[in-house]
């Protein structure tokens, strides 16, 4: 018997979701901030450099006032987590990359962890349930 975590279908779901997330969310931070709210559940738990922020609306409102940014994902990895009886899972994602803010040329490192949870009744549609961001260099 394969453990659920070694199940090829789940691994693929988790990696596809992670890839899709990385390819759309970070460009949105850079160029499409007005869409940020749509990535989150309304009650998503977010920490940004130690600040607690509740939900995508608050996050998007905060991020609208951030200096312009250029995030570049350099590595990411994801696991299926909390596999349910139906064979559906959430996805835990670890992202590491660099970011430049405003007019500064300084390249800073960041680390981010994201829990993507499928929508009820729709196991292939994911939104952010929890997210933690930290600058890690500079």
């Amino acid at each position: 018997m394969t453990t659920p975590a070694k199940d090829a279908k789940l691994i693929k779901t988790a990696s596809d979701a992670a890839r899709r997330f990385v390819e759309s969310y970070y460009p949105a931070l850079n160029d499409n901030r007005s869409s940020l709210d749509t990535y989150y559940y309304p009650d998503a738990a977010i920490t940004w450099n130690g600040n607690a922020i509740l939900g995508g609306g608050n996050f998007a409102t905060f991020f609208a006032t951030m200096p312009t940014s250029h995030y570049d994902v350099q590595s990411f990895d994801a696991h299926p987590v909390a596999v349910d009886a139906m064979g559906n899972c959430s996805v835990m994602l670890n992202v590491s990359g660099s970011v430049k803010y405003g007019e500064s040329k300084e390249m800073r490192g960041f680390g981010e962890t994201v829990i993507l949870r499928p929508e009820e009744g729709n196991p292939t549609k994911f939104k952010i349930s929890a997210q933690g961001f930290r600058l890690v260099s500079g």
């Binding site: 975590a5 130690g50 600040n51 590595s75 909390a82 890690v136």
Partner: protein
């Protein structure tokens, strides 16, 4: 490695290529192997190995390379011979030496980045290494082999350091024009060639199907009757020239999109797509493409179109040996995101959606431009200390126990916190920003890379399964295969811990613990100690036996210090400027920033705001008090307090738990 850009000149990258300027003033990179290639071509031209009734597109010399040969002076060979002596020792015998084509990158000057950074950016995006680059006034020129032109052009419009790069290949036009000359039979004229190739295009275009059939070109009577195949020297060059004619016949992107949905290059004895790579430049928006009945045997031979044909819906490689390659379907499906039919079999692609499509709220975008005294942008929220949304301090205790025992008591950790379903994997970020002292210094990752699950590099599901450790045994094996480490759990400032409580899956609450820190890597073969930074995240769930790890993901990267999460109470905070209200237009005003600062997460014991932290004196007093009651030394007392948000009672409780669990070691005591 020295800079590649200097004084507008051409700088070579280390390695294999030889550079020189050919007679047209175009840059040419070629080595002795290129000369040999020309030689082989020449021999074939003599008629010895001319294929019979078919064009063998595989050996088509590319671009201006042929010009040199046609010039016939032997100049090229002589020059190359001369240069080869200098470079032969560094040359990789397997390396292909092909003509390079210049790609123009415009717009970078207006960016915040340097030319060097722009090149690195393009290298990252394209996964290529540009051995030769040039700064020409406002432009950067990247020299690449023809097979990857498309891969680079694909990033036209990419955003680099605040600007959209304009990436064009004017040089491609030159290449195409010269391909017209190349295609012309001896004694023929290029004008005549154009006319003949136009006839071919007309004969092979089926407007009602929007289909251009370029299969079996070797059997094309129009070409044969006009002596294209009796003159061996030109038979292999027809395809690029056909594309030049196609550019004239269907001159704009819109016309091409409208008139041509499908192209077949089936049955052309192709061993790789290199001879026909220009198809993706002329018809980038094809929906259907057939390569059936060629001789393509590996994925590498298809690499040049890896990131081209973004709108491809049907692809046929039936009859090519490549279909037997492991993961062939997975790779092709991944390369072409809109593919619905591959080799006439429907593509089964999980329809993953991230987020919704429509914004729920309208937020005025108002990026801060404020900078601090050093010109560094400042943020609307300050950096704060550990966020502990951890009602019973279970996650915090787990972290303390984990990191004080990870170097010495792995079995205890696995036994206590990991279940047969727990997952662990490692990924390496080799390009992460690092402390200044390490910039430009080479870092070695050999011990980690074979285990790294970085999905920027790992795509295949079997490999992803292989690099995911599940259950204590596999996790132990993976941990043991990594270099031994020393984590310094005593010094609080080296660590950043954030814990949030969330609904991990529907109705199941759990915690996410996120750690940034550093370790010393102990090298058994030398006394040198390497410092690395890491990011590690755990998803934690509660069981009847206490807290358990659901998943554990670690990223290892170059050492980046611990200043990023230090709290500076005097750090400036950007106050968002409200845009002046527009009199008549109703608008949604963003919530004011202060409301966000302490917006509590549900279940949070107490949201952490800097105002609620005691001052330094009070912190010291509590440290002394905790040390006195528990016998912990001051360092541990401080760490315990930091992890309890400086709440004495919960710090004492964590100490108590740790003591009961036997995780208090003598070095923690006074």
């Amino acid at each position: 490695m020295s800079g590649r850009i200097g004084g507008g000149g051409i700088t070579k990258r280390t390695g294999t290529g030889r550079t020189r300027v050919d007679r047209d003033g175009d840059l040419d990179m070629d080595g002795p192997a290129g000369g040999a290639r020309g030689g082989r071509g020449g021999a074939r031209r003599g008629g010895a190995s001319v294929p019979g009734r078919h064009i063998n597109l595989n050996n088509a010399p590319k671009g201006p390379a042929a010009d040199q040969k046609r010039s016939g002076s032997g100049m090229g060979a002589g020059k190359r011979g001369g240069k080869a002596r200098g470079g032969s020792s560094r040359r990789n015998a397997n390396e292909h030496h092909v003509q390079l084509v210049g790609i123009k990158v415009d717009g970078w000057k207006a960016s915040k980045g340097s030319a060097e950074e722009c090149i690195r950016f393009m290298e990252r995006k394209t996964s290529l290494k540009f051995r030769k680059t040039q700064k020409q006034g406002e432009f950067l020129i990247l020299y690449v082999p023809p097979a990857v032109i498309a891969q680079v052009l694909n990033w036209d419009g990419a955003k680099f350091a605040g600007v959209n790069l304009k990436i064009t290949a004017d040089a491609v036009d030159g290449m195409l024009d010269s391909s017209m000359q190349d295609a012309t039979p001896k004694n023929g004229s290029t004008a005549n060639t154009k006319a003949i190739l136009d006839q071919v295009l007309t004969a092979r275009y089926r407007p009602e199907e929007k289909f251009l059939d370029l299969s079996r070109l070797g059997e094309e009577a129009i070409l044969r009757d006009n002596g294209f195949f009796s003159q061996g020297s030109t038979t292999m060059k027809v395809f690029p020239a056909l594309m030049v004619c196609a550019e004239k016949k269907w001159p704009t992107g819109n016309i091409k999109r409208e008139m041509i949905h499908s192209v077949s290059v089936a049955q052309n004895h192709l061993k790789s797509i290199t001879p026909v790579t220009s198809l993706s430049i002329t018809f980038p928006d094809l929906k259907n493409l057939s390569l059936e009945g060629n001789e393509i045997s590996d994925l590498k031979a298809l690499e040049g179109w890896r990131s081209r044909f973004r709108n491809l819906e049907q692809l046929y490689l039936t009859g090519n040996p490549v279909m037997n390659v492991d993961n062939y379907r997975d790779v092709m499906i991944r390369r072409y995101p809109k593919l619905v039919l591959l080799d006439n079999v429907a593509v089964d692609r999980p329809a993953i959606d991230i987020g919704d499509n429509k914004p729920r709220i309208n937020i005025i975008q108002n990026p801060s431009t404020a900078v601090d005294a050093n010109g560094r942008p400042i943020f609307p929220l300050p950096v704060r200390g550990h966020l502990q949304d951890d009602p019973n301090a279970t996650a915090t205790q787990f972290l303390m126990q984990f990191f004080s025992a990870i170097d010495s008591s792995k079995d205890m950790i696995l036994e206590r916190f990991y279940t047969p379903q727990s997952t662990f994997s490692l990924s390496v970020n080799t390009s992460a920003p690092r402390v200044e002292a390490l910039q430009g210094e080479r870092q070695f990752w050999d011990a980690y890379i074979p285990k790294s699950r970085n999905m920027k590099r790992i795509h295949d599901v079997p490999q992803m399964i292989d690099r995911l450790a599940v259950g204590p045994q596999e996790i132990r094996t993976l941990w043991d295969s990594l270099p031994a480490t020393r984590h310094n759990a005593q010094i609080g400032e080296l660590w950043s811990f954030d814990v949030i409580t969330t609904e991990i899956s529907k109705g199941v609450m759990g915690q996410v613990a996120m750690v940034h820190g550093e370790f010393e890597e102990l090298n058994p073969n030398s006394s040198a100690i390497i410092k690395r930074s890491f990011d590690r995240s755990f998803t934690l769930g509660m069981s009847t036996e206490g807290v358990k790890v659901l998943s554990d993901l670690m990223t290892v990267r170059s050492y980046s210090g611990h200043t990023a999460w230090q709290v500076d109470p005097n750090a400036p905070v950007a106050v968002p400027q409200m845009a002046p209200p527009i009199a008549s237009a109703p608008q949604v005003i963003p919530q004011a920033a202060p409301q966000l600062v302490a917006a509590p997460v549900p279940g949070s014991a107490a949201p952490i705001a800097s105002a609620s932290l005691p001052d330094i004196e009070e912190q010291q007093r509590r440290c002394m008090q905790l040390a006195e009651t528990t016998g912990l030394n001051l360092k541990y007392a401080e760490m315990c307090l930091m992890n309890s948000n400086w709440d004495l009672a919960s710090a004492w409780l964590s100490w108590n738990d740790a003591k009961q669990n036997g995780t208090i070691t003598p070095d923690m005591l006074q």
